[in-house]
């Protein structure tokens, strides 16, 4: 088991190396608009130094004057020591900015995941138990609508209904106007209130696939021989479902939910941006539009790590949860 994990980890590191190299190449081949803008501004403010000279200085400062291969290894050696440089757009060290915004994303993601699981698993199991019933059709339609809903459209509807017409929530932002005057507990509630609509959006849009997955797995389990045996033994339907079927359904569910855990840190790019939640998604969206290479490099690498971690966790969990896999 340990050998397997170590081997997978080593492979992941190699893949990460290539992925970050590709990302670095992409970033370097883009016209570095940010540097040019800054150079132009500074040349305008200080006419003694020409635009070209500023550009050269900045390129040197940001390590853009060496060839991409060299540049990548310089970046890598810095990154391995945890130095991701200063964000051009935000003007603070990348890791500092990351540290200050990541918990908003995590809170949003965690809240959404909890509701998704709480909604998807019972509904999925029920609809598998009563296949082709009204409930089954209803959940299927609900799940597929959730999957098919364009996030930005649903967010607009939510804003329209709950923020504009009913006035229950603010249109966007993470805190209200009076936030600073509140007591710490009120401040916390204020933030929670601003999280409601984004969470609702993520739950509606994200529940569908988990629900469908639960249903499919439950159907597979219910069709299997050991369930028929359990029924043949005369066990009560409750015991068959809750004890025998449910536990077996949990195997793939645990692996897939485990695999999404790293994703809690990746932030919901569209949702955060449209609700202006200052999480990692919104922060990096702004950075990407501004051509902030250090921040974007960090964010993309971070995303790649999360993806690799996700697959690794779900594979390992699969082996942990299912004894049959462990044997082979």
């Amino acid at each position: 088991m340990r050998k397997y994990i170590v081997k997978r980890l080593l492979w992941s590191i190699l893949i990460l190396f290539f992925v970050s190299f590709l990302i670095y190449l992409l970033m370097r081949s883009l016209p570095s608009s940010y540097v040019e803008t800054v150079a132009r501004e500074r040349a305008a403010a200080n006419p003694q130094v020409s635009y070209k000279q500023w550009l050269e200085r900045l390129n040197e400062l940001y390590g853009l004057n060496v060839n991409p291969l060299q540049g990548f290894f310089i970046w890598l050696s810095q990154a391995l020591r945890g130095h991701f440089g200063d964000s051009w757009y935000y003007g603070v060290p990348v890791t500092q900015k990351f540290g200050s915004v990541i918990w908003y994303s995590f809170a949003l993601g965690a809240a959404a995941l909890i509701f998704q699981v709480a909604l998807a698993i019972p509904l999925g199991i029920q609809s598998a138990r009563k296949q082709y019933s009204t409930l089954d059709y209803a959940t299927t339609v609900f799940a597929l609508i959730g999957i098919s809903l364009p996030g930005f459209f649903f967010i607009t509807i939510l804003k329209m209904v709950f923020a504009v017409n009913l006035g229950w929530f603010d249109l966007n932002g993470i805190v209200g106007r009076m936030h600073d005057t509140y007591s710490p507990f009120r401040q916390f509630l204020d933030i929670c209130q601003h999280m409601v609509l984004p969470t609702l959006n993520l739950v509606i849009i994200g529940t569908g696939s988990l629900l469908r997955y639960t249903r499919t797995n439950m159907l597979e389990v219910l069709n299997s021989d050991y369930i028929r045996t359990a029924r043949a033994e005369g066990l009560s339907e409750r015991r068959v479902i809750n004890h025998h079927a449910f536990r077996n359904t949990l195997i793939p569910l645990v692996t897939i939910i485990g695999g999404t855990l790293p994703g809690l840190f990746s932030g919901a790019l569209i949702t955060e941006t449209l609700f202006k939640i200052p999480g990692i998604g919104y922060t990096s969206y702004e950075a990407m539009l501004a051509g902030d290479i250090p921040f974007t490099m960090f964010y993309l690498t971070f995303m790649a790590i999360l993806t690799l971690l996700g697959t690794l966790i779900s594979d390992v969990l699969y082996a942990v949860v299912d004894p049959r896999v462990r044997v082979s």
Partner: protein, 598 residues
Amino acid sequence: MKQDKKVKEEVSMAEDLNRPVTPSAETPESSSRRLDDEQRVKVVSPSMLVFRRFIRNRLAVTGLIFFIVMLLFSYLGGIFSPYSETQRFYKTTEMSEEFAGVTQSSTYRFITAQGQAFPTASQAKAQLAIKNGETTFTADNDTFTLDKISSEGYTISQMASVAKAETLGGSITVSSANSNELPEGLEEAFTQAVQDESESFTLGDTTYQVERDRKTYYAKTSLYIGVATMKLIDFDSADSQNSTDFTIAALQAEDTAMANGQTVTFQAEGQTYTLEYNQADDAALIYQAGQTSAYAIVSNYIVNSVQSDVHIGIDLRQQIVEAVQSGEDQLVYDNNEYDISRQNNRWTLTLQQDKTVFDAYAFPSRAHWLGTDGYGMDILTRLMYGGRVSIQISFMVVLISLILGITLGGLSGYFGGWVDFVIMRLVDIFYCLPTWPIMIIIGAVMDEMKVDSATRMNFLMLLLGVLGWSGVARMVRGQILGLRDQEFMIATEATGLTVGRRIFKHLVPNVIPQLIVMATMSMGDTILTESTLSFLGLGVKYPFASWGNIINAVSTQYVMTNYVFVWLPAGLCILITVLGFNFIGDGLRDAFDPKMKR
């Protein structure tokens, strides 16, 4: 899941056994057939079987209807729509615009002769002197003389030295007293005058006075500075320049005309003019000889155009003066309506004008069933063309990722070994590349580089396709790994088929059911991706329509709350189409894989 054809046939036989067997008329011995006789069973082709199962699924049929409706809407709609994709509509709105300001002249204005200066401070002094009825005034150590030329006109002149002569032991040197050049013959005349010690001399029409200051003599003359007048002379064309000579002549002519009530002819600068005084509006028109249209107007009113580039012609000017004088509050001229409003001594003319503007955010009407968007384009038509763009893009993207995925996945699964290893690591790498951020970055860069919309769209397709093939490759490889050791593959090897044929003719067709399901589902996904990018302004751009960029309008809160008809239909179009794809995909999966049924 092994989707071998044989398996399906067995299933179809099993299903059809349930039906009551009707003995056919042509075969009389049919009753004697054994139960497992092949003739008894109506063999249905596998695809027919899938089709039947699909048709029985209500959701799948709904999805198919959604899809067909949207397809017809997008492709036929564009043909039937009376408007084109980028046709913009206009509307006329009445806009009132300040056109001119009119004030009655209450101070004198000064027209200076060529080459002369008359600074503001001196103008104020002159103003005061005229008001007090004085004939001379001093400003800036210079003495000026005022001569009345007409009822409200004066000429201003100044005694100034023109030349000075210095006598040094009998010889006389004449030089200019100011920076101007000396008039011709002055030097001789002045020298003569100094020698004669006369007090004045005449040269041409001008009389010079000689003043002595010790050894220096100054030749002084009355220098003509300019004209001060209460009346205003405005010319028909913006290029005409006022000159002092013309002003004097015109003012004197007007006086005569005012007194006699007749037309007066006068000469100025070698031209003959006729002046016509109109008592009703207390203004006079000046005609150039031989011309029928007025050359200039003399009036008591200052008419200033508000826009710097508009010159008000004589006709309109006369009309305005007339209207203002008779206290009217409206003026119609050249089909334009002007409203006149008065504020103390100032009249303001506002022009009521019909302006053509884009018919933006028009509410749904008979002409535009769903209204118009921010650019003044018909939303229904944009939705139709947007549907084409969205469906085409997602089709191309899925096609690209299928081609890449099937080829690489097929090779990987068939060969195994190091080929498999390399390709699978490539898949891992592509799987790790974060699609969203990359699309956003490249979109932003294309914005920066001002890539044109068509290139942009092609690039978008290519990129999404290339970023999306890893899932297909994984699936194809997984399926092929299980199939390649089966008997039918050994048979292909024995018949000596080429590797390419073996992979793409015999292995890949077995994966087609899963591929179809996958392709349908990812068509929906791609529409979502594309529309989200277009919504963010990083995907399909104007002039091309896309459901996403139609909803883009909600980025301003005002549009979101007040013009729901702009974004709601586009969102519903996306939802229905994607839902259609997902319903179809779901139904197909069930139809291909009957194990899921109980």
